[in-house]
């Protein structure tokens, strides 16, 4: 069996979380290689670098090159720094491809991160830049045992608590394994000595009783929750809850979502910037100040033996096309856009750029009159999962217990459902998201106020959320995409092996900067 078939088999049998683990082991997914700020030794002797795009890749490149003595300038399409590092607040206006404009009405302090929203503890480059730029971080909650798992096709459409599904799944599996062990069915693979250890482990792991059974009682309620919690005084008797039967649990498919928190990127600790992910882009923007020219739409990228020249238009001021020149160029424009711009690079890099389309993704932020998920459901941060098209409900990991309105992430999805969402008007996306969410939180019906929907295929400056790599495309094009072509080098999440992560954008940029500097020093 080849590797790909193996992945597919694992994926089909165990869910993609397990497959991800398998891929990680085989080196297909990995951790940040960041070991500290990049060191660019030697004087560039006045060399200039034009950077296209003021996302994290472009701005980190500008910061490091400026500090090393280069003359640096960034051209940015938007009127703000950050790119996909982006937060929408009340008062913001967002116009998508096709012209729909959304006026964000979120109350003071509330926000939606349409793009990235969490920073794993091992994304060392991003965490280091946050530290250097004094961006304050706070914990992001991924797994919440009180959140819901929901299927329209299971339990009459009634959501179950994550902790119930988690405890019952582990408990039943532990019981099965313990039975198989006790019945000597595993003698071929487990030694006599290990059998005793395994049986003990199953008891502890699955909350099994002395007969190795997972069943109703205070022991299992201590995992899955009680009907009535232990109390004080004369009303203190706890009432145990009924585990979900194995057959029903398996058939429900709710177990699909319990492995998410095991994934490397979703393991604790995870962080978010206080006030929204966009705080990082803003901090970079402040640091770089006038080095960034905004509202600049690049229309051609040229190079010859002496330098690069980039033609662009000022989308705000209008007027004739302008040209910026430099010795070198770091281009972080997404491949989905770059493939449409005449760019003077050789066939290998051009083929690589043309080979990447960008995936569809959707996020919908909903404001409610009150934080009912906390007040009524005791859900503080984390996320609920559903097989409805909205896929996920994300609860804010900040502002706990606040009175007044709150914003939650009402939908976050990719693929088919995301394509379908993108084809709707923003109003319809919000309406559908409320309709789906009401099946999990009936409070939506009375508490919903307004929302904002970002479909990434409609985002004018990316045409999608992230570059879509396959193993075949990587083998064929990745090295060509990352190589320096004359005086031009590309950077961004698409030029990394951590696709769609901000860490990937930074590592790509730092790698490009390092190689470019070597080239300059050698000249």
């Amino acid at each position: 069996m080849n590797r790909r078939s193996l992945f597919q088999l694992i994926g089909a049998a165990a869910g993609s979380a397990v497959m991800y683990q398998a891929m990680t082991e085989l080196g297909h997914a990995g951790e940040s290689g960041y070991t500290g700020p990049v060191e660019l030794k030697g004087s560039p002797r006045g060399a200039s670098v034009l950077i296209l795009g003021a996302g994290l890749a472009g701005m980190s490149a500008a910061l490091e090159l400026r500090n090393a003595g280069y003359q640096v300038k960034i051209l940015e399409y938007n009127d703000r720094p950050g790119g996909r590092n982006w937060t929408l607040y009340g008062g913001d206006r967002y116009t998508e491809m096709g012209g729909h404009t959304q006026n964000v009405q979120f109350a003071e302090g509330l926000y939606l991160n349409p793009g990235p929203w969490r920073i794993p503890y091992h994304h060392r480059a991003l965490l280091d830049y946050c530290k250097r730029l004094k961006v304050q971080l706070e914990p992001f909650t991924q797994v919440n045992y009180a959140a819901y798992l929901h299927s329209a096709k299971a339990f009459g459409g009634k959501p179950r608590r994550y902790r119930e599904v988690q405890a019952d799944f582990d408990g039943h599996v532990a019981e099965l394994l313990a039975k198989a062990t006790a019945q000597s069915q595993l003698d071929q693979t487990v030694t006599r000595e290990d059998r005793e250890i395994l049986l003990g482990a199953m008891r502890e792991w699955g909350a099994l009783d002395q007969n190795y059974e997972y069943k109703k009682g205070l022991l299992t309620s201590e995992r899955r929750g009680y009907v009535s919690d232990p109390g004080g005084g004369l009303t203190s008797e706890p009432v145990a809850s009924d585990p979900i039967a194995l057959h029903e649990l398996l058939q429900s498919r709710l177990w699909r979502s319990i492995a998410a928190g095991h994934i490397y990127e979703f393991q604790s600790a995870i962080f978010q910037p206080v006030g929204g992910m966009g705080m990082i882009g803003k901090a970079f923007g402040r640091e770089l100040g006038p080095l960034i020219e905004y509202n600049a739409k690049v229309t051609a990228i040229k190079q010859d033996d002496h330098g690069v020249s980039v033609v662009y238009q000022d989308t705000k001021a209008g007027g004739a096309a302008r040209t910026a020149t430099a010795d070198w160029c770091i281009c972080t424009i997404p491949a989905s856009i770059l493939s449409q711009i005449p760019v003077a690079v050789g066939a290998p890099m051009k083929s690589a750029i043309d080979a990447l389309y960008y995936d569809s993704s959707i996020k919908v932020g909903l404001q409610f009159k009150r934080r009912f998920w906390e007040q009524d459901d005791a859900i503080f941060g984390g996320m609920s999962y559903t097989d409805l098209p909205n896929a996920l409900i994300g609860y804010p990991s900040t502002g706990y217990f606040a009175e007044g309105p709150g914003v939650l992430l009402g939908a976050y999805t990719f693929g088919v459902n995301s394509f379908l969402y993108a084809a709707m008007s923003p109003e319809e996306r919000v309406r559908k998201t409320v309709e789906y969410g009401t099946q999990i939180h009936p409070q939506y019906a009375t508490e919903f106020e307004h929302g904002v929907a970002v479909a990434w295929h409609r985002v004018p400056w990316t045409l999608g959320c992230a570059g879509h790599w396959t193993p075949e495309l990587r083998a064929k094009h990745y090295d060509d995409l990352c190589a320096i072509d004359g005086r031009i080098v590309l950077a961004g999440e698409h030029a990394s092996r951590l696709p769609a992560w901000q860490e990937g954008a930074l590592l790509s940029s730092l790698d490009a900067v390092r190689r470019l500097h070597e080239r300059v020093m050698a000249a």
């Binding site: 080849n2 590797r3 790909r4 597919q8 994926g11 993609s16 979380a17 991800y20 891929m23 997914a29 491809m97 991924q142 498919r253 699909r256 979502s257 998410a260 928190g261 994934i263 990127e265 979703f266 739409k297 989905s336 856009i337 449409q340 043309d354 389309y357 960008y358 995936d359 993704s361 999962y385 896929a391 996920l392 976050y412 999805t413 990719f414 693929g415 088919v416 459902n417 995301s418 394509f419 379908l420 993108a422 084809a423 479909a455 409609r458 985002v459 004018p460 400056w461 990316t462 045409l463 999608g464 959320c465 992230a466 879509h468 396959t470 193993p471 075949e472 951590l498 696709p499 992560w501």
Partner: protein, 139 residues
């Protein structure tokens, strides 16, 4: 398996935390199927996300081409190939559609939005135009 490789798609899903999402819902999310069957339903359900309801396309830092009055639609093989294989920013959406669905949507765009082509694409022609299954990943 029909369609783009499931693995990187799922890996991306994982990565984005959609993963989270879904964990396994990622299977549905990336290599799923579309319920729409008629050309009009498919256009309104999928294509107009980028090409817009009136097929006029849209312009930002990059552009989505108009399908309205597009002379490149004259040869049916052109839209058929683009739907099946993608082209630059255009995803290979046909990988997640049946032969009937691809034929229906291609025929729809070639007979609407100011396009009046008489010849039609058959499901058999779609089947024949699909790329052979992608090669296995090198070991």
């Amino acid at each position: 398996m029909r369609g783009p490789s499931l693995i990187p798609a799922m890996m991306l899903a994982m990565v984005l935390g959609l993963a989270a999402v879904g964990v396994d819902h990622a299977q549905d999310m990336f290599a799923g199927s579309y319920p729409q069957q008629s050309g009009e339903e498919l256009y309104k359900g999928i294509c107009q996300g980028c090409h817009m309801p009136n097929a006029q396309g849209a312009v930002g830092a990059g552009a989505y081409p108009a399908l309205a009055g597009d002379p490149r639609l004259a040869a049916a093989i052109y839209p058929l190939t683009v739907v099946l294989n993608g082209q630059r920013a255009m995803p290979p959406i046909g990988a997640d559609l049946s032969d009937d669905q691809v034929a229906n949507v291609v025929n729809y765009i070639r007979t609407h939005f100011g396009n009046h082509y008489k010849d039609t694409v058959t499901p058999a022609a779609v089947k024949a135009a699909r790329r052979p299954p992608s090669t296995e990943e090198p070991e």
